[in-house]
Subunit: 279 residues, 2 copies
Protein backbone atom coordinates (compact mmCIF):
# COMPACT_ATOMS: atom_id res chain seq x y z
CA UNK A 1 0.00 0.00 0.00
CA UNK A 2 1.32 3.45 -0.87
CA UNK A 3 2.09 5.79 2.00
CA UNK A 4 -0.81 8.15 2.62
CA UNK A 5 -1.02 11.07 5.01
CA UNK A 6 -2.80 14.33 5.81
CA UNK A 7 -6.34 14.72 4.62
CA UNK A 8 -5.94 12.47 1.60
CA UNK A 9 -5.46 9.68 4.12
CA UNK A 10 -8.21 11.23 6.23
CA UNK A 11 -10.77 10.52 3.53
CA UNK A 12 -10.21 6.77 3.83
CA UNK A 13 -12.78 4.90 5.93
CA UNK A 14 -12.50 3.38 9.40
CA UNK A 15 -12.90 -0.39 9.46
CA UNK A 16 -15.13 -1.58 12.30
CA UNK A 17 -15.89 -5.22 12.94
CA UNK A 18 -17.78 -7.47 15.30
CA UNK A 19 -19.09 -11.02 15.45
CA UNK A 20 -22.49 -9.69 14.43
CA UNK A 21 -24.74 -6.77 15.29
CA UNK A 22 -23.39 -5.87 18.74
CA UNK A 23 -20.56 -3.76 17.34
CA UNK A 24 -23.13 -1.40 15.88
CA UNK A 25 -23.35 0.18 19.34
CA UNK A 26 -19.69 1.12 18.83
CA UNK A 27 -20.24 2.25 15.22
CA UNK A 28 -23.10 4.44 16.50
CA UNK A 29 -20.76 6.19 18.95
CA UNK A 30 -18.17 6.75 16.20
CA UNK A 31 -20.89 8.24 13.95
CA UNK A 32 -21.97 10.57 16.77
CA UNK A 33 -18.51 11.65 17.86
CA UNK A 34 -16.69 11.70 14.52
CA UNK A 35 -19.37 12.67 12.00
CA UNK A 36 -16.81 13.38 9.25
CA UNK A 37 -15.47 9.84 9.27
CA UNK A 38 -16.54 7.14 6.84
CA UNK A 39 -17.04 3.62 8.13
CA UNK A 40 -16.86 0.15 6.62
CA UNK A 41 -18.58 -2.20 9.06
CA UNK A 42 -18.24 -5.97 8.94
CA UNK A 43 -20.50 -8.27 11.01
CA UNK A 44 -19.47 -11.94 11.06
CA UNK A 45 -23.05 -13.18 11.16
CA UNK A 46 -22.12 -16.56 9.65
CA UNK A 47 -19.94 -17.42 12.65
CA UNK A 48 -21.60 -15.43 15.44
CA UNK A 49 -21.33 -15.66 18.44
CA UNK A 50 -17.64 -15.40 19.36
CA UNK A 51 -18.22 -15.40 23.11
CA UNK A 52 -17.94 -19.13 23.69
CA UNK A 53 -15.11 -19.78 21.23
CA UNK A 54 -11.38 -20.26 21.73
CA UNK A 55 -8.49 -17.88 21.30
CA UNK A 56 -7.08 -19.70 18.24
CA UNK A 57 -10.39 -19.54 16.45
CA UNK A 58 -11.04 -15.88 17.29
CA UNK A 59 -7.54 -14.95 16.10
CA UNK A 60 -8.09 -16.76 12.79
CA UNK A 61 -11.47 -15.09 12.29
CA UNK A 62 -10.05 -11.66 13.14
CA UNK A 63 -7.17 -12.11 10.68
CA UNK A 64 -9.59 -12.99 7.88
CA UNK A 65 -11.75 -9.97 8.64
CA UNK A 66 -8.81 -7.56 8.78
CA UNK A 67 -7.58 -8.92 5.44
CA UNK A 68 -11.04 -8.22 4.03
CA UNK A 69 -11.18 -4.71 5.53
CA UNK A 70 -7.80 -3.89 4.01
CA UNK A 71 -9.29 -4.54 0.58
CA UNK A 72 -11.60 -1.63 1.46
CA UNK A 73 -8.61 0.71 1.96
CA UNK A 74 -9.37 1.39 5.62
CA UNK A 75 -6.99 3.74 7.43
CA UNK A 76 -7.56 2.24 10.89
CA UNK A 77 -9.49 -0.62 12.45
CA UNK A 78 -11.72 -0.77 15.51
CA UNK A 79 -12.36 -4.23 16.90
CA UNK A 80 -15.87 -3.47 18.09
CA UNK A 81 -16.21 -6.77 19.92
CA UNK A 82 -15.04 -7.43 23.45
CA UNK A 83 -14.26 -11.09 22.82
CA UNK A 84 -12.08 -10.40 19.77
CA UNK A 85 -10.45 -7.44 21.56
CA UNK A 86 -9.65 -9.69 24.52
CA UNK A 87 -8.36 -12.67 22.55
CA UNK A 88 -6.98 -11.37 19.24
CA UNK A 89 -5.87 -7.72 19.53
CA UNK A 90 -2.32 -8.54 20.68
CA UNK A 91 -1.77 -10.93 17.77
CA UNK A 92 -3.24 -8.84 14.97
CA UNK A 93 -1.47 -5.68 16.17
CA UNK A 94 1.81 -7.48 15.59
CA UNK A 95 0.78 -8.84 12.20
CA UNK A 96 -0.79 -5.86 10.43
CA UNK A 97 0.83 -2.49 9.79
CA UNK A 98 -2.11 -0.20 10.41
CA UNK A 99 -3.56 1.24 13.62
CA UNK A 100 -5.90 -1.21 15.37
CA UNK A 101 -7.75 -0.53 18.61
CA UNK A 102 -10.07 -2.70 20.65
CA UNK A 103 -12.87 -1.82 23.06
CA UNK A 104 -11.31 -3.11 26.26
CA UNK A 105 -8.46 -0.74 27.08
CA UNK A 106 -10.53 2.43 27.10
CA UNK A 107 -13.28 0.81 29.19
CA UNK A 108 -10.67 -0.43 31.64
CA UNK A 109 -9.13 3.05 31.92
CA UNK A 110 -12.41 4.80 32.59
CA UNK A 111 -13.47 2.23 35.17
CA UNK A 112 -10.11 2.49 36.94
CA UNK A 113 -10.51 6.27 37.07
CA UNK A 114 -14.15 6.10 38.17
CA UNK A 115 -13.99 3.66 41.05
CA UNK A 116 -13.72 5.10 44.53
CA UNK A 117 -13.77 1.94 46.65
CA UNK A 118 -11.51 0.16 44.09
CA UNK A 119 -14.00 -2.63 43.44
CA UNK A 120 -14.87 -2.91 39.76
CA UNK A 121 -17.31 -5.39 38.22
CA UNK A 122 -17.12 -6.62 34.63
CA UNK A 123 -19.84 -8.51 32.79
CA UNK A 124 -19.20 -10.10 29.40
CA UNK A 125 -19.15 -13.33 27.41
CA UNK A 126 -17.50 -16.45 28.72
CA UNK A 127 -14.40 -15.96 26.54
CA UNK A 128 -14.01 -12.28 27.46
CA UNK A 129 -14.24 -12.96 31.19
CA UNK A 130 -12.03 -16.06 31.07
CA UNK A 131 -9.37 -14.13 29.15
CA UNK A 132 -8.73 -11.97 32.21
CA UNK A 133 -8.00 -9.06 29.87
CA UNK A 134 -10.11 -6.50 31.77
CA UNK A 135 -8.36 -7.50 35.01
CA UNK A 136 -4.97 -7.11 33.37
CA UNK A 137 -5.62 -3.69 31.84
CA UNK A 138 -7.32 -2.35 34.97
CA UNK A 139 -4.33 -3.52 37.02
CA UNK A 140 -2.00 -1.69 34.65
CA UNK A 141 -3.87 1.45 35.71
CA UNK A 142 -4.02 0.57 39.39
CA UNK A 143 -2.87 -2.78 40.81
CA UNK A 144 -4.84 -2.12 43.99
CA UNK A 145 -8.23 -2.46 42.31
CA UNK A 146 -10.11 -5.73 42.79
CA UNK A 147 -11.87 -6.84 39.62
CA UNK A 148 -14.96 -9.05 39.83
CA UNK A 149 -15.73 -10.69 36.48
CA UNK A 150 -18.95 -12.49 35.65
CA UNK A 151 -19.74 -14.32 32.42
CA UNK A 152 -23.34 -13.80 31.30
CA UNK A 153 -23.89 -16.16 28.35
CA UNK A 154 -27.66 -15.66 28.18
CA UNK A 155 -27.68 -11.87 27.84
CA UNK A 156 -26.73 -11.76 24.13
CA UNK A 157 -29.42 -14.26 23.10
CA UNK A 158 -31.97 -12.32 25.18
CA UNK A 159 -30.98 -9.06 23.45
CA UNK A 160 -31.13 -10.73 20.04
CA UNK A 161 -34.59 -12.09 20.88
CA UNK A 162 -35.56 -8.45 21.51
CA UNK A 163 -36.57 -9.01 25.15
CA UNK A 164 -34.89 -5.80 26.28
CA UNK A 165 -37.34 -4.86 29.01
CA UNK A 166 -38.72 -8.28 29.76
CA UNK A 167 -39.22 -9.73 33.27
CA UNK A 168 -37.29 -12.84 32.15
CA UNK A 169 -34.31 -10.71 31.13
CA UNK A 170 -34.52 -8.88 34.42
CA UNK A 171 -34.54 -12.13 36.41
CA UNK A 172 -31.59 -13.52 34.47
CA UNK A 173 -29.60 -10.28 34.71
CA UNK A 174 -30.33 -9.97 38.42
CA UNK A 175 -29.07 -13.50 38.96
CA UNK A 176 -25.85 -12.78 37.09
CA UNK A 177 -25.30 -9.49 38.95
CA UNK A 178 -26.07 -10.78 42.45
CA UNK A 179 -22.54 -11.81 43.33
CA UNK A 180 -21.06 -8.58 41.99
CA UNK A 181 -23.49 -6.55 44.09
CA UNK A 182 -22.70 -8.66 47.14
CA UNK A 183 -19.00 -7.97 46.54
CA UNK A 184 -19.77 -4.25 46.85
CA UNK A 185 -18.61 -2.96 43.45
CA UNK A 186 -19.08 0.76 42.76
CA UNK A 187 -18.42 0.58 38.98
CA UNK A 188 -19.62 -1.91 36.40
CA UNK A 189 -18.17 -2.33 32.91
CA UNK A 190 -20.68 -3.38 30.26
CA UNK A 191 -18.08 -5.69 28.69
CA UNK A 192 -20.03 -6.86 25.66
CA UNK A 193 -21.26 -4.64 22.86
CA UNK A 194 -24.81 -5.96 23.24
CA UNK A 195 -25.10 -4.79 26.82
CA UNK A 196 -25.57 -1.05 26.24
CA UNK A 197 -28.96 -2.10 24.85
CA UNK A 198 -29.76 -3.39 28.37
CA UNK A 199 -28.45 -0.24 30.01
CA UNK A 200 -31.71 0.97 31.52
CA UNK A 201 -32.64 -2.49 32.77
CA UNK A 202 -29.20 -2.92 34.35
CA UNK A 203 -29.31 0.60 35.84
CA UNK A 204 -32.64 -0.29 37.44
CA UNK A 205 -31.13 -3.37 39.06
CA UNK A 206 -27.86 -1.88 40.33
CA UNK A 207 -29.29 1.49 41.40
CA UNK A 208 -27.73 4.96 41.40
CA UNK A 209 -24.74 4.03 43.54
CA UNK A 210 -22.97 2.12 40.78
CA UNK A 211 -21.37 3.81 37.78
CA UNK A 212 -22.03 2.00 34.49
CA UNK A 213 -19.09 2.15 32.06
CA UNK A 214 -19.90 1.77 28.35
CA UNK A 215 -16.70 0.94 26.43
CA UNK A 216 -18.41 1.83 23.13
CA UNK A 217 -18.45 5.53 23.99
CA UNK A 218 -14.93 5.50 25.43
CA UNK A 219 -13.62 3.71 22.33
CA UNK A 220 -14.97 6.40 20.01
CA UNK A 221 -13.09 9.00 22.08
CA UNK A 222 -9.91 6.91 21.97
CA UNK A 223 -10.27 6.54 18.21
CA UNK A 224 -10.46 10.31 17.86
CA UNK A 225 -7.23 10.78 19.83
CA UNK A 226 -5.52 8.09 17.75
CA UNK A 227 -6.58 9.60 14.42
CA UNK A 228 -5.38 13.05 15.47
CA UNK A 229 -2.09 11.67 16.72
CA UNK A 230 -1.46 9.71 13.50
CA UNK A 231 -2.56 12.60 11.30
CA UNK A 232 -5.33 10.42 9.89
CA UNK A 233 -8.41 12.36 10.92
CA UNK A 234 -10.75 13.69 8.25
CA UNK A 235 -10.22 17.43 8.76
CA UNK A 236 -12.35 18.55 5.85
CA UNK A 237 -16.04 18.77 5.28
CA UNK A 238 -17.99 15.56 5.06
CA UNK A 239 -16.95 14.09 1.70
CA UNK A 240 -19.68 14.17 -0.95
CA UNK A 241 -20.15 10.43 -1.38
CA UNK A 242 -23.39 8.54 -1.40
CA UNK A 243 -22.51 6.02 1.23
CA UNK A 244 -20.51 7.29 4.18
CA UNK A 245 -21.29 4.00 5.93
CA UNK A 246 -20.98 0.62 4.26
CA UNK A 247 -22.13 -2.62 5.82
CA UNK A 248 -20.84 -6.09 5.02
CA UNK A 249 -21.89 -9.38 6.62
CA UNK A 250 -20.95 -13.02 6.23
CA UNK A 251 -24.55 -14.24 6.34
CA UNK A 252 -28.23 -13.28 6.14
CA UNK A 253 -28.09 -9.60 5.29
CA UNK A 254 -31.84 -9.10 5.86
CA UNK A 255 -31.77 -10.15 9.46
CA UNK A 256 -28.75 -7.95 10.11
CA UNK A 257 -30.51 -4.99 8.52
CA UNK A 258 -33.59 -5.35 10.70
CA UNK A 259 -31.49 -5.36 13.85
CA UNK A 260 -29.21 -2.58 12.62
CA UNK A 261 -32.17 -0.37 11.84
CA UNK A 262 -33.35 -0.73 15.42
CA UNK A 263 -29.95 0.38 16.77
CA UNK A 264 -28.75 3.04 14.34
CA UNK A 265 -30.26 6.52 14.06
CA UNK A 266 -31.07 5.95 10.37
CA UNK A 267 -32.13 3.05 8.13
CA UNK A 268 -29.47 1.06 6.30
CA UNK A 269 -30.30 0.68 2.63
CA UNK A 270 -27.77 -1.84 1.40
CA UNK A 271 -25.99 -4.66 3.18
CA UNK A 272 -23.54 -6.78 1.20
CA UNK A 273 -22.84 -10.43 1.91
CA UNK A 274 -19.33 -11.81 1.38
CA UNK A 275 -17.69 -15.20 1.95
CA UNK A 276 -15.27 -14.32 4.74
CA UNK A 277 -13.60 -17.75 4.66
CA UNK A 278 -12.00 -16.75 1.35
CA UNK A 279 -9.87 -14.04 2.99
Amino acid sequence: MAEISGNSAGLAPIGVFDSGVGGLTVAREIMRNLPNEHIVYFGDTARVPYGSKSRDTIIRYSQQIIRFLRTQQVKAIVIACNTASALALDEVEKEFDLPIIGVIRSGARVAAAATVNRKVGVIGTESTINSGMYDQLIHEEDPGITVYGKACPLLCPLVEEGWLKDPVTETVTRRYLDELLEAGIDSLILGCTHYPLLRSLIAGIVGDGIRLVNPAYETAKELERLLIQKNLINTGEKAPVNEPYKFYVSDAADKFKRFANSILPYDIETTRKINIEEY
Copy 2:
Protein backbone atom coordinates in the same frame (compact mmCIF):
# COMPACT_ATOMS: atom_id res chain seq x y z
CA MET B 1 -13.44 -44.84 -3.45
CA ALA B 2 -13.46 -48.58 -4.10
CA GLU B 3 -16.83 -50.35 -4.00
CA ILE B 4 -17.39 -51.96 -0.61
CA SER B 5 -20.21 -54.25 0.48
CA GLY B 6 -21.28 -56.91 2.99
CA ASN B 7 -19.59 -56.92 6.34
CA SER B 8 -16.32 -55.44 5.10
CA ALA B 9 -18.38 -52.35 4.37
CA GLY B 10 -20.23 -52.91 7.63
CA LEU B 11 -17.06 -52.34 9.62
CA ALA B 12 -16.79 -48.77 8.35
CA PRO B 13 -18.07 -46.10 10.73
CA ILE B 14 -21.21 -43.97 10.59
CA GLY B 15 -20.52 -40.25 10.21
CA VAL B 16 -22.68 -38.14 12.50
CA PHE B 17 -22.53 -34.35 12.57
CA ASP B 18 -24.12 -31.37 14.23
CA SER B 19 -23.41 -27.69 14.79
CA GLY B 20 -22.12 -28.57 18.25
CA VAL B 21 -23.10 -30.80 21.13
CA GLY B 22 -26.83 -31.21 20.42
CA GLY B 23 -26.30 -34.02 17.94
CA LEU B 24 -24.88 -36.14 20.75
CA THR B 25 -28.50 -36.90 21.71
CA VAL B 26 -28.77 -38.57 18.28
CA ALA B 27 -25.38 -40.29 18.60
CA ARG B 28 -26.53 -41.61 21.98
CA GLU B 29 -29.61 -43.22 20.38
CA ILE B 30 -27.46 -44.78 17.65
CA MET B 31 -25.11 -46.20 20.31
CA ARG B 32 -28.08 -47.68 22.18
CA ASN B 33 -29.90 -49.09 19.18
CA LEU B 34 -26.97 -50.17 17.00
CA PRO B 35 -24.26 -51.15 19.48
CA ASN B 36 -22.13 -52.83 16.79
CA GLU B 37 -21.73 -49.67 14.78
CA HIS B 38 -18.72 -47.39 14.96
CA ILE B 39 -19.27 -43.65 14.89
CA VAL B 40 -17.21 -40.65 13.81
CA TYR B 41 -18.86 -37.59 15.30
CA PHE B 42 -18.15 -34.04 14.19
CA GLY B 43 -19.37 -31.00 16.17
CA ASP B 44 -18.93 -27.65 14.42
CA THR B 45 -18.22 -25.80 17.65
CA ALA B 46 -16.31 -23.01 15.86
CA ARG B 47 -19.41 -21.95 13.95
CA VAL B 48 -22.20 -22.99 16.32
CA PRO B 49 -25.13 -22.20 16.39
CA TYR B 50 -26.66 -22.93 12.99
CA GLY B 51 -30.21 -22.05 14.02
CA SER B 52 -30.16 -18.39 13.05
CA LYS B 53 -28.10 -18.75 9.86
CA SER B 54 -29.12 -18.86 6.20
CA ARG B 55 -29.61 -21.77 3.83
CA ASP B 56 -26.53 -20.89 1.71
CA THR B 57 -24.28 -20.81 4.73
CA ILE B 58 -25.64 -24.04 6.22
CA ILE B 59 -25.23 -25.81 2.87
CA ARG B 60 -21.59 -24.66 2.61
CA TYR B 61 -20.86 -25.77 6.17
CA SER B 62 -22.52 -29.15 5.60
CA GLN B 63 -20.54 -29.72 2.40
CA GLN B 64 -17.27 -29.04 4.22
CA ILE B 65 -18.19 -31.40 7.03
CA ILE B 66 -19.24 -34.21 4.68
CA ARG B 67 -15.95 -33.81 2.78
CA PHE B 68 -14.14 -34.17 6.11
CA LEU B 69 -16.20 -37.20 7.16
CA ARG B 70 -15.43 -38.91 3.85
CA THR B 71 -11.75 -38.73 4.74
CA GLN B 72 -12.74 -40.93 7.69
CA GLN B 73 -14.13 -43.61 5.34
CA VAL B 74 -17.67 -43.39 6.67
CA LYS B 75 -20.26 -45.67 5.05
CA ALA B 76 -23.24 -43.42 5.74
CA ILE B 77 -23.94 -40.02 7.24
CA VAL B 78 -26.51 -38.85 9.75
CA ILE B 79 -27.14 -35.11 9.84
CA ALA B 80 -27.85 -34.97 13.57
CA CYS B 81 -28.99 -31.36 13.43
CA ASN B 82 -32.48 -30.20 12.61
CA THR B 83 -31.35 -26.95 11.02
CA ALA B 84 -28.86 -28.62 8.66
CA SER B 85 -31.39 -31.39 7.91
CA ALA B 86 -33.99 -28.76 7.04
CA LEU B 87 -31.75 -26.53 4.93
CA ALA B 88 -29.00 -28.70 3.45
CA LEU B 89 -30.12 -32.35 3.15
CA ASP B 90 -31.66 -31.95 -0.32
CA GLU B 91 -28.51 -30.35 -1.71
CA VAL B 92 -25.92 -32.68 -0.20
CA GLU B 93 -27.95 -35.78 -1.12
CA LYS B 94 -27.60 -34.75 -4.77
CA GLU B 95 -23.91 -33.97 -4.46
CA PHE B 96 -22.46 -36.92 -2.54
CA ASP B 97 -22.69 -40.59 -3.51
CA LEU B 98 -23.22 -42.12 -0.11
CA PRO B 99 -26.36 -42.59 1.99
CA ILE B 100 -27.24 -39.47 3.99
CA ILE B 101 -30.21 -39.12 6.34
CA GLY B 102 -31.43 -36.21 8.39
CA VAL B 103 -33.46 -36.07 11.59
CA ILE B 104 -36.59 -34.44 10.22
CA ARG B 105 -38.28 -37.05 8.04
CA SER B 106 -38.51 -39.72 10.72
CA GLY B 107 -39.81 -37.25 13.31
CA ALA B 108 -42.39 -36.00 10.82
CA ARG B 109 -43.53 -39.57 10.07
CA VAL B 110 -43.96 -40.53 13.69
CA ALA B 111 -45.84 -37.33 14.52
CA ALA B 112 -48.15 -37.81 11.54
CA ALA B 113 -48.89 -41.35 12.72
CA ALA B 114 -49.32 -40.32 16.36
CA THR B 115 -51.71 -37.40 16.06
CA VAL B 116 -55.40 -38.11 16.53
CA ASN B 117 -56.87 -34.62 16.18
CA ARG B 118 -54.45 -33.83 13.32
CA LYS B 119 -52.91 -30.85 15.07
CA VAL B 120 -49.15 -31.20 15.41
CA GLY B 121 -46.80 -28.70 17.07
CA VAL B 122 -43.13 -28.30 16.18
CA ILE B 123 -40.55 -26.37 18.19
CA GLY B 124 -37.08 -25.65 16.84
CA THR B 125 -34.59 -22.98 15.88
CA GLU B 126 -35.59 -20.00 13.78
CA SER B 127 -34.06 -21.47 10.61
CA THR B 128 -35.66 -24.87 11.09
CA ILE B 129 -39.13 -23.41 11.65
CA ASN B 130 -38.82 -20.85 8.85
CA SER B 131 -37.73 -23.57 6.43
CA GLY B 132 -41.21 -25.13 6.62
CA MET B 133 -39.57 -28.54 6.24
CA TYR B 134 -41.52 -30.23 9.05
CA ASP B 135 -44.77 -28.93 7.55
CA GLN B 136 -43.78 -30.24 4.13
CA LEU B 137 -42.81 -33.72 5.29
CA ILE B 138 -45.82 -34.06 7.61
CA HIS B 139 -48.09 -33.05 4.72
CA GLU B 140 -46.49 -35.71 2.53
CA GLU B 141 -47.77 -38.19 5.12
CA ASP B 142 -51.19 -36.55 5.54
CA PRO B 143 -52.13 -33.24 3.92
CA GLY B 144 -55.04 -32.87 6.37
CA ILE B 145 -52.76 -32.27 9.37
CA THR B 146 -52.36 -28.70 10.58
CA VAL B 147 -48.78 -27.98 11.67
CA TYR B 148 -48.08 -25.26 14.24
CA GLY B 149 -44.41 -24.23 14.22
CA LYS B 150 -42.77 -22.11 16.88
CA ALA B 151 -39.18 -20.88 16.85
CA CYS B 152 -37.61 -20.97 20.33
CA PRO B 153 -34.22 -19.21 20.00
CA LEU B 154 -33.54 -19.05 23.74
CA LEU B 155 -33.88 -22.76 24.50
CA CYS B 156 -30.45 -23.80 23.14
CA PRO B 157 -28.58 -21.13 25.10
CA LEU B 158 -30.52 -22.13 28.24
CA VAL B 159 -29.58 -25.80 27.74
CA GLU B 160 -25.95 -24.87 27.10
CA GLU B 161 -25.98 -22.77 30.29
CA GLY B 162 -27.09 -25.96 32.07
CA TRP B 163 -30.34 -24.48 33.38
CA LEU B 164 -32.28 -27.65 32.55
CA LYS B 165 -34.71 -27.55 35.47
CA ASP B 166 -34.61 -23.86 36.19
CA PRO B 167 -37.66 -21.63 36.81
CA VAL B 168 -36.33 -19.22 34.15
CA THR B 169 -36.20 -22.02 31.58
CA GLU B 170 -39.70 -23.07 32.59
CA THR B 171 -41.04 -19.51 32.18
CA VAL B 172 -39.39 -19.11 28.78
CA THR B 173 -40.53 -22.54 27.55
CA ARG B 174 -44.07 -21.92 28.77
CA ARG B 175 -44.17 -18.63 26.89
CA TYR B 176 -43.00 -20.30 23.68
CA LEU B 177 -45.48 -23.17 24.06
CA ASP B 178 -48.52 -21.08 24.98
CA GLU B 179 -49.77 -20.52 21.45
CA LEU B 180 -49.28 -24.19 20.52
CA LEU B 181 -51.27 -25.27 23.56
CA GLU B 182 -54.01 -22.75 22.73
CA ALA B 183 -54.15 -24.19 19.21
CA GLY B 184 -54.99 -27.57 20.76
CA ILE B 185 -52.10 -29.71 19.47
CA ASP B 186 -52.02 -33.35 20.61
CA SER B 187 -48.43 -34.08 19.47
CA LEU B 188 -45.28 -32.00 19.80
CA ILE B 189 -42.07 -32.59 17.87
CA LEU B 190 -38.87 -31.68 19.75
CA GLY B 191 -37.37 -30.26 16.57
CA CYS B 192 -33.90 -29.40 17.84
CA THR B 193 -31.39 -31.90 19.14
CA HIS B 194 -30.95 -29.93 22.36
CA TYR B 195 -34.59 -30.24 23.33
CA PRO B 196 -34.62 -33.88 24.48
CA LEU B 197 -32.53 -32.55 27.39
CA LEU B 198 -35.58 -30.44 28.34
CA ARG B 199 -37.95 -33.36 27.91
CA SER B 200 -39.10 -33.65 31.52
CA LEU B 201 -39.54 -29.89 31.86
CA ILE B 202 -41.56 -29.76 28.63
CA ALA B 203 -43.62 -32.81 29.66
CA GLY B 204 -44.46 -31.04 32.90
CA ILE B 205 -45.73 -28.00 31.00
CA VAL B 206 -47.77 -29.74 28.31
CA GLY B 207 -49.16 -32.52 30.50
CA ASP B 208 -50.05 -36.13 29.70
CA GLY B 209 -52.44 -35.33 26.87
CA ILE B 210 -49.72 -34.38 24.43
CA ARG B 211 -47.38 -36.90 22.84
CA LEU B 212 -43.75 -35.74 22.69
CA VAL B 213 -41.89 -36.91 19.58
CA ASN B 214 -38.10 -37.19 19.82
CA PRO B 215 -36.60 -37.33 16.31
CA ALA B 216 -33.27 -38.58 17.74
CA TYR B 217 -34.76 -41.95 18.63
CA GLU B 218 -36.72 -42.23 15.39
CA THR B 219 -33.62 -41.39 13.37
CA ALA B 220 -31.63 -44.23 14.95
CA LYS B 221 -34.40 -46.63 13.91
CA GLU B 222 -34.44 -45.20 10.37
CA LEU B 223 -30.66 -45.56 10.18
CA GLU B 224 -30.97 -49.23 11.10
CA ARG B 225 -33.49 -49.84 8.29
CA LEU B 226 -31.28 -47.98 5.83
CA LEU B 227 -28.14 -49.94 6.74
CA ILE B 228 -29.97 -53.26 6.41
CA GLN B 229 -31.48 -52.25 3.09
CA LYS B 230 -28.12 -51.14 1.67
CA ASN B 231 -26.31 -54.19 3.06
CA LEU B 232 -24.10 -51.89 5.13
CA ILE B 233 -24.94 -53.00 8.66
CA ASN B 234 -22.22 -54.42 10.86
CA THR B 235 -23.48 -58.01 11.19
CA GLY B 236 -20.49 -59.32 13.10
CA GLU B 237 -19.36 -58.99 16.64
CA LYS B 238 -18.26 -55.59 17.84
CA ALA B 239 -14.93 -55.04 16.08
CA PRO B 240 -11.90 -55.21 18.40
CA VAL B 241 -10.75 -51.62 18.07
CA ASN B 242 -9.85 -49.24 20.83
CA GLU B 243 -12.10 -46.42 19.80
CA PRO B 244 -15.52 -47.39 18.52
CA TYR B 245 -16.52 -43.73 18.81
CA LYS B 246 -14.34 -40.88 17.60
CA PHE B 247 -15.07 -37.22 18.26
CA TYR B 248 -13.90 -34.27 16.20
CA VAL B 249 -14.68 -30.60 16.74
CA SER B 250 -13.79 -27.34 15.02
CA ASP B 251 -13.10 -25.49 18.29
CA ALA B 252 -12.47 -25.80 22.02
CA ALA B 253 -12.33 -29.55 22.54
CA ASP B 254 -12.36 -29.26 26.34
CA LYS B 255 -15.69 -27.51 26.53
CA PHE B 256 -17.19 -30.02 24.12
CA LYS B 257 -15.90 -32.89 26.24
CA ARG B 258 -17.45 -31.55 29.42
CA PHE B 259 -20.86 -31.24 27.79
CA ALA B 260 -20.52 -34.59 26.00
CA ASN B 261 -19.68 -36.37 29.22
CA SER B 262 -22.90 -35.05 30.75
CA ILE B 263 -24.95 -36.44 27.84
CA LEU B 264 -23.26 -39.72 26.93
CA PRO B 265 -23.36 -42.86 29.07
CA TYR B 266 -19.56 -42.93 29.27
CA ASP B 267 -16.70 -40.44 29.41
CA ILE B 268 -15.00 -39.36 26.20
CA GLU B 269 -11.22 -39.62 26.47
CA THR B 270 -10.01 -37.89 23.33
CA THR B 271 -11.52 -35.12 21.25
CA ARG B 272 -9.63 -33.94 18.19
CA LYS B 273 -9.77 -30.41 16.86
CA ILE B 274 -9.60 -29.80 13.10
CA ASN B 275 -9.80 -26.70 10.88
CA ILE B 276 -13.06 -27.39 9.05
CA GLU B 277 -12.65 -24.41 6.73
CA GLU B 278 -9.88 -26.34 4.96
CA TYR B 279 -12.31 -28.98 3.66
